[in-house]
């Protein structure tokens, strides 16, 4: 392990990650790598069947033909969220084939991927680069993983692939519908899940690409969200996922009165400071509070007769209703969180558009949709008095969540974090976040059930909120009140010296590191 250095955010980070040099975070938009983007190997159509039939008999056969080796990096994707069967099947197959030291690079992991712990323990898997959720996060936090875990945002994964920091040797794409040539989409078939945008970079940059489907259609499969020209082999399975689990618990509107109050405060704030105006845009993803926010905002839009130009998903029934009832011209969707979203994307493709991290989130893009947004409402596990925020660990320091698109969305014109001011006894506003994922200069508003705090850097918003009917308070005021209730701030977690994971910023620099938890 290399020595740790203090980065521009004052956090100690490694300068070497899994044998490769790493750049410490330098500040927002300070790091500009140059050179040329990574590129896939040259292939020739002469090496592929002229009749376009790339179907092979089994996943194992596909992997054998792709060529496997110890220490390879394998990419999978989370379109099925907690209902994914494919990533586990790929890793089980590699284990059967005797492959060792695999680096797993999922676009996100879910509780359904808990069986991966077995492969980490047996030596089949070396470490994870992507996200570590639930049991995988605990395993990593306990210091049991052999390599350093790397957590990246959705945009950061594309950035890392493009600047060759993350090289995918083999990508296996779960496709709800595909043809024998490898054209594939996620909007049709019994396992329909929406767009396949998270797999797009893998399909373009990986050395080998396998499509696994449970709904084979004759050529051509349209729409082709994944282009067959980038695909090496097609495998047909009985079932590649459980569509009922695409709809996860985070896509239900909250019934908690505290969280409903936060949602209501944010909607009123957005309306009263003038963000909600004809032609505006917002993003509200999954999560009980943000869904409720969209519902409250819709009512305020109805009363004020305001229409949005576009809403960014993850789409849900609630956003689809807004599209159909004329509250927005477009939904620009990165992933669908429920089956209404999937149906809308399939049946209304001119207004409900499929977008990928390339267009929305990628640091190496020539601009991003995310920064065009007038406002975005996100969650956080912790925030601090300097408006910094954490999404990957709780106050006990144990890895629990991935970053998702969270970091990438912070560039919106008004970034609002919706958080309860405490959970059970644990205050959410701390003096210093346990793990830094988002710098305070990008976080404009922190909304709690005890009132809304505006970042002092945003004097314009503070002025606009002068006549706001929502309680506007300083972050210190809210934090102090909660500390009185909880009997003071929590003790800092007991952590070992060993660094177990690195948190990447959207530009590929290291914004923070996670140390071993001694309580796991």
């Amino acid at each position: 392990m290399s020595a740790l250095v203090k980065n521009a955010a004052g956090r100690l980070v490694p300068t070497e990650i899994n044998g490769k040099p790493a750049v410490p975070y330098q500040g927002v938009h300070q790091f500009r790598p140059s050179g040329r983007k990574a590129a896939p190997p040259i292939r020739s159509c002469a090496d592929y069947p002229a009749d376009g039939n790339k179907i092979v008999g089994s996943l194992r056969e596909a992997l054998e033909r792709c060529g496997v080796k110890n220490g390879m990096t394998v990419g999978t994707h989370h379109h099925f969220r907690n209902g994914d069967f494919v990533a586990n099947a790929v890793m089980d197959t590699l284990a059967d084939m005797g492959v060792r030291d695999v680096v797993w690079a999922p676009s996100a992991s879910f509780p359904c991927h808990a069986p991966m712990v077995r492969h980490l323990e047996s030596g089949v898997m070396h470490h994870i680069e992507g996200s570590m959720n639930g049991p995988l996060g605990e395993y990593c936090s306990a210091g049991k993983m052999r390599g350093l875990g790397v957590l990246r945002s959705h945009g950061g994964r594309f950035q890392a692939i493009q600047d060759d920091e993350l090289h995918i040797d083999l990508a296996v794409i779960a496709a709800p519908t595909a043809d024998p040539f490898g054209n594939a989409n996620g909007v049709q078939g019994p396992s329909a899940c929406g767009p396949l945008g998270f797999a797009l970079a893998d399909s373009l940059y990986a050395d080998r690409v396998v499509v696994v489907t449970d709904n084979l259609v004759p050529f051509p499969c349209v729409p082709w969200q994944i282009h067959g020209q980038n695909v090496d082999y097609v495998v047909v399975h009985d079932r590649i996922g459980d569509p009922s689990k695409i709809v996860s618990g985070t896509t239900q509107v909250t019934r908690s009165p505290d969280r409903l109050l936060i949602a209501e405060y944010i909607a009123r704030f957005v309306a009263e400071v003038g963000i909600m105006a004809d032609g505006f845009s917002f993003q509200a993803g999954a999560g009980g509070i943000t869904l409720a926010f969209a519902l409250y905002l819709k009512e305020l839009m109805r009363k004020a007769n305001v229409k949005a130009r576009f809403i960014r998903g993850g789409s849900t029934k609630y956003l689809v209703d807004m599209l159909q009832e004329g509250f927005t011209d477009y939904i620009l969707d990165g992933q669908t969180f429920d089956l209404d979203g999937v149906r809308s994307m399939r049946e209304d493709p001119k207004r409900h558009l499929d977008t990928s991290p390339f267009t929305s989130y990628n640091f190496h893009g020539k601009g991003n949709f995310a920064s065009i947004l007038d406002c975005v409402v996100l969650g956080a596990t912790e925030v601090d008095r300097a408006f910094n925020a954490n999404v990957v660990t709780h106050s006990d320091g144990v890895l629990l969540h991935g970053i998702g698109g969270w970091q990438n969305c912070l560039t919106a014109k008004c970034t609002i974090l919706a958080v309860p001011s405490f959970r059970d006894r644990i205050p959410v506003i701390l003096d210093r976040v346990t793990t830094l994922c988002g710098p305070g200069e990008l976080i404009d508003v922190i909304a709690t059930e005890r009132g809304i705090a505006i970042n002092p850097r945003r004097q314009d918003l503070i002025d606009a909120a002068k006549r706001c009917t929502v309680p506007i308070r300083s972050i210190d005021d809210i934090a102090d009140e909660v500390n009185r209730l909880t009997g003071g701030p929590p003790d800092a977690p007991t952590l070992g010296d060993k660094v177990v994971a690195a948190i990447k910023w959207v530009d590929g620099t290291v914004i923070d590191s996670v140390r071993q938890s001694l309580n796991c």
Partner: protein, 404 residues
């Protein structure tokens, strides 16, 4: 000799609460075992707090087990004290948990009591943020929402909630139990910042006087604690006026219909024809006694339109307030009790005419060719105040209208 006691709730799904079990013994010192969901962050603080309470109550020899699901200090304090007192009723507390300063604002007889939110007295998680929702009153309930086995412990939790939690502008209410149990409730919750006591199932004026006397025993004759008897039986309905007049502390009569309909041998319906007599009786008795008539709770949380209709009906019958069990019901109740635009316009005209009459030293108020009776003026003033409280009229409406 060992004596055992326990308080709180146990189980993996318990949040913001804890369970404390203790065995008092004659020797062996303190043996404290803590299992907490937030041990890494608050383990030390939990241990110190429990030991401090044991010392405060002069307990030197005991085994204590705490199973904590993230309880706030005021909850932990209540659970430990209740468990110890259950083990030995002779134990005394020397120092209560420190009260939040500045919350001891008095209430007023004539304040609005449009909405009152029931909070189960043994459920800390519902109490903590209850002050954020703008209810006119918050009821910490020791009666029907608390299972018999938890009634003892709930008293200490409610007492601590009254001392610690910021209930904002809400009136701090406690519903005590019936009979002697209710009088014992008072012994624990007084003198801890209670504005109003709801007395359940009142059938005689004597029951009200007993409560009043018990409050006076703790706080003196001019105790300032207000009383709201709940009428929920045939007999209570019959004596409603006597009950309302039983003590000058009574400020409102509330009505409860579940027990009443059973009492008169029928069932509750949505139309509510079976309870029309009682509702009108309570309204009439309350008005005759100069106190507020307050309607029962609307318990279907999911049915906001049903609630709205029910409040509009209550307002039309003459009630001043409605009970609720979920914070989301509060804005609906306030909206429905809010005066209509027409009512506000008319009230403004009457109040303005009254002002003119005052300025000109006229005894009679007139609006156009119509004479306005004093009760109508009083009603109009109430409507204007209510409109201001509902945010429908600016506080300085008189000057504003003149300048425009």
């Amino acid at each position: 000799m060992t004596r055992q006691g326990q308080a709180g709730r146990q189980g993996a799904d318990v949040r913001s609460d804890c369970h404390v079990a203790c065995t008092l013994r004659d020797e062996g010192g303190i043996d404290l075992e803590i299992e907490s969901k937030v041990a890494t962050m608050f383990g030390h603080k939990i241990r110190k707090q429990v030991l401090d309470i044991l010392a405060d109550m002069n307990v030197a020899h005991a085994t204590v087990q705490v199973q904590d699901g993230g309880a706030l200090p005021f909850t932990l304090d209540a659970r430990v004290e209740a468990a110890l007192r259950a083990a030995d009723p002779s134990l005394k507390r020397n120092r209560w948990i420190e009260a939040k300063a500045g919350w001891d604002t008095p209430t007023r007889r004539d304040r609005f009591r449009r909405s009152r939110l029931y909070l189960p007295g043994n459920e800390p998680k519902f109490m903590i943020n209850a002050g954020l929702y703008g209810a006119d009153g918050l009821i910490l309930d020791l009666e029907d929402s608390v299972a018999p086995m938890h009634k003892f412990a709930a008293r200490y939790l409610v007492r601590n909630a009254l001392r610690i939690l910021d209930f904002g502008t809400a009136e701090r209410m406690v519903r005590i139990n019936q009979g002697d149990l209710g009088l014992e409730d008072l012994d624990v919750i007084l003198p801890h910042h209670v504005h109003l006591v709801l007395i359940p199932k009142v059938e005689t004026a004597e029951q009200v006087r007993q409560v009043d006397d018990r409050v006076a025993m703790h706080l003196g004759k001019d105790h300032g604690v207000l009383l709201m008897p709940i009428i929920e039986s045939a007999k209570g309905g019959w004596f409603a006026y006597d009950i309302a007049m039983a003590s000058p502390s009574v400020v409102a009569l509330a009505i409860g219909l579940e027990d009443y309909t059973a009492d008169i041998g029928t069932q509750r319906t949505n139309e509510g024809r079976e309870s029309l007599w009682l509702r009108q009786q309570v309204i009439n008795a309350a008005r005759a006694a100069g106190v507020q008539p307050i309607d029962t709770v609307f318990s279907d949380v999911a049915d906001s339109e049903g609630l709205r209709g029910s409040v509009i009906e209550a307002k039309q019958l003459g009630f001043d307030g409605k009970g609720c069990i979920h914070p989301r019901q509060i804005p609906i109740i306030h909206e429905a009790f809010a005066p209509t635009r027409q009512e506000i316009d008319k009230a403004q005209k009457i109040v303005r005419a009254f002002d003119v009459a005052q300025q000109q030293g006229l005894a009679a108020v007139s609006l156009g060719s119509k004479m306005i009776d004093p009760p109508v003026v009083k009603r109009a003033m109430h409507t204007v105040t209510l409109a201001i409280a509902c945010g429908l009229l600016s506080e300085d409406w008189k000057t504003k209208e003149v300048s425009s």
